[in-house]
């Protein structure tokens, strides 16, 4: 009896694992199969053309803009916030409130961020549908990620580093900049890389704040579309699955590179701390 049950459960485990892997392989396979024919130098680096056959360079540039702007704003704020929580704050109600706020921000669905961005950055701050409005919205989305990973990284810096530095007569600030932050750098970096992944994959929030203009952005105040929004729109508007899949390949490659560099950095981190 027990043996039969065991066999059944074991079978279920195998079937589930097979199903998961099969489905996921199918998705990636489907995207590459459908899109690979379109991939070419001129597709990636060519300008978009409304009559068809153009490239996706404007969307790549827009994606890079949003990544850069959101990170330029979110990184220092996130690092400073983590430094405060980890190095300065006394545990208490204030810290609990801040922790609660960052955790809540993580759980909010991106469409709500989009709504907020659309009314706050686009309308109230009069930024219009623009790259800057989308980037500011994305800043809020990735802020909790950077705070959390930086905090984790700061936790791993041994107390003896701090004590040693302070014992040499440096101030707290000097210790922070010269000793603690450099030691925590790999952790911070992997947080930044995770954020890039989040920004690249985001669609709903960008759709509502950056608009859908399919052209090379003039400046960060232009409306434009990122790669994900482009993939969505070509599917939705023209039903062009092949084009969407081709954009998908570019996105998957970007995510792959991001993942690999995150693994690379965390390996370096481990090696460094083990020494």
């Amino acid at each position: 009896m027990i043996q039969l049950k065991d066999k059944l459960l074991r079978g279920l485990l195998w079937i589930s694992a097979f199903l998961s892997v099969a489905v996921l392989v199918m998705i990636v396979g489907f995207i590459f199969y459908k899109g690979i024919n379109l991939i070419s130098f001129s597709f990636i680096f060519g300008d978009y053309s409304p009559t068809g056959g153009g490239g996706i360079w404007p969307m790549i540039v827009t994606t890079i803009y949003t990544i850069l702007i959101s990170l330029i704003i979110a990184t220092p704020i996130g690092i400073f916030a983590a430094v405060y929580l980890q190095e300065y704050a006394k545990q208490g109600r204030l810290v609990r409130t801040i922790r609660f706020a960052t955790e809540s921000l993580t759980g909010i669905p991106s469409i709500i961020y989009g709504l907020f961005g659309a009314v706050f950055f686009v309308t109230t701050l009069k930024l219009g549908m623009s790259i800057i409005a989308a980037s500011l919205t994305l800043t809020i989305i990735v802020l909790p990620v950077i705070i959390r990973t930086t905090e984790e990284a700061l936790k791993t810096v041994p107390l003896s580093y701090r004590e040693g530095s302070l014992a040499l007569g440096t101030t707290k600030l000097q210790t922070l900049y010269k000793v603690i932050l450099p030691s925590a750098m790999p952790g911070v970096l992997s947080g930044i890389i995770l954020s890039i992944g989040r920004i690249v994959g985001e669609s709903a929030a960008i759709f509502l704040t950056a608009g859908t203009v399919a052209a090379m952005p003039d400046s960060i105040f232009s409306s434009a579309r990122t790669l994900t929004v482009h993939a969505y729109l070509v599917t939705q508007e023209s039903g062009d699955i092949e084009l969407a899949a081709a954009v998908g390949i570019v996105l998957i490659v970007i995510i792959l590179v991001i993942n690999l560099s995150a693994t690379f950095i965390s390996k370096k981190l481990n090696r460094a701390t083990n020494k």
Binding site: K5, L13, V21, I111, T171, S203, F207
Partner: protein, 304 residues
């Protein structure tokens, strides 16, 4: 620091110290402000969404009850009822959980306990990678493969349906659930396994009676994260839902979940219509808060 020998030196050192002290104080202030920014943005987000969303009910005399339980959503005729969308969101989420959680969980158990190290080393990172794939692509896959598949295999009149939404969401939450649950299961101390096996319990028995219960809180986290991804998903759902405004009575009805309603109409809504989309956002928001709360309760109870 040397001991000051005359007054002039004392003044100099004092000044330097003062500047250092000021710098310290200022920087700690800046750090505090940065930390408070996340609180501020949360307050701003909740404030703005609730302010806009509550406006029609507070200032324009719309009934909140009619909004929640109304079955008609015709913005051009001033009818705003989101009952069909609430039902659609609930059904879609529950359906995705029913399919996604067991498969995801079993896969994570397989990877952590049954698969050989070499196999797990290939599959686990691959699944992790899939967790990072933009959700839009899952929608593209759904529209190009799942929708026609449902249409042809089951002879449906339209493939854009609740079932299509459920399948896409279930697939989408798989990588999240597998990755998080696998980590939790691997974190169960080896001694648990050894103890159970030493007592003569079979390998499978050990997994389900000892290891999975021990990893419960991690597994709960995995489910909550997967759930969050499913309920908040928008763009992938638009592509496969059909967006009809009916209260779904079967898996084959096309539906419009809450998120979809916002994204579909936000582009051109203004005035009361736009406020009502924010109200839809409030409902979605409360939905997520309630679900998180319930799951926290469940896992707390299980912990005791």
């Amino acid at each position: 620091m040397s001991i000051p020998t005359n007054n002039k030196q004392v003044v100099v050192i004092d000044k330097a110290n003062k500047r250092k002290y000021m710098l310290e104080k200022m920087s700690s202030r800046i750090f505090l402000i940065c930390a408070l920014l996340s609180v501020l943005t949360l307050v701003l987000i909740i404030g703005f969404v609730f302010y806009k969303g509550a406006h029609p009910f507070v200032a324009e005399g719309y009934s909140f009850i009619d909004f929640i339980f109304g079955k008609d959503w015709v913005p051009s005729e001033d009818k705003f009822g989101i009952f069909p969308m609430i039902v659609a969101s609930i059904f879609a989420t529950i359906g995705a959980l029913i399919i996604g959680v067991p498969i995801g969980l079993f896969t994570s158990i397989f990877l952590a306990e049954i698969a050989s190290k070499r196999v797990a080393k290939i599959i686990s990172p691959a699944i992790q990678l899939l967790a990072g794939i933009p959700s839009v692509l899952y929608g593209v896959f759904g529209l190009a493969i799942i929708v026609p598949f449902l249409q042809n295999t089951f002879g449906l009149v339209k493939g854009q349906s609740l079932l299509a939404v459920i399948l896409v969401l279930a697939i989408m939450m798989l990588p999240t659930i597998v990755t998080v649950a696998e980590t939790a299961i691997r974190a169960v101390p080896q001694t648990y396994r050894e103890g159970s096996l030493a007592l003569g319990v079979s390998h499978i028995g050990t997994i389900f009676k000892v290891i999975v219960p021990a990893a419960k809180s991690g597994i709960m986290t995995a489910i909550v994260l997967g759930l969050g991804r499913a309920i908040g998903e928008t763009m992938a759902v638009i592509l496969v839902a059909g967006n009809s405004l009916i209260v779904p009575t079967s898996l084959t009805d096309s539906v419009r979940p809450l998120t979809t309603n916002i994204a579909l109409e936000m582009g051109y809504a203004f005035g009361t219509h736009q406020d009502m989309l924010f109200a839809t956002g409030i409902v979605l928001f409360s939905f997520i808060l309630i679900l998180n709360f319930v799951l926290a309760k469940i896992s707390a109870k299980g912990g005791n």
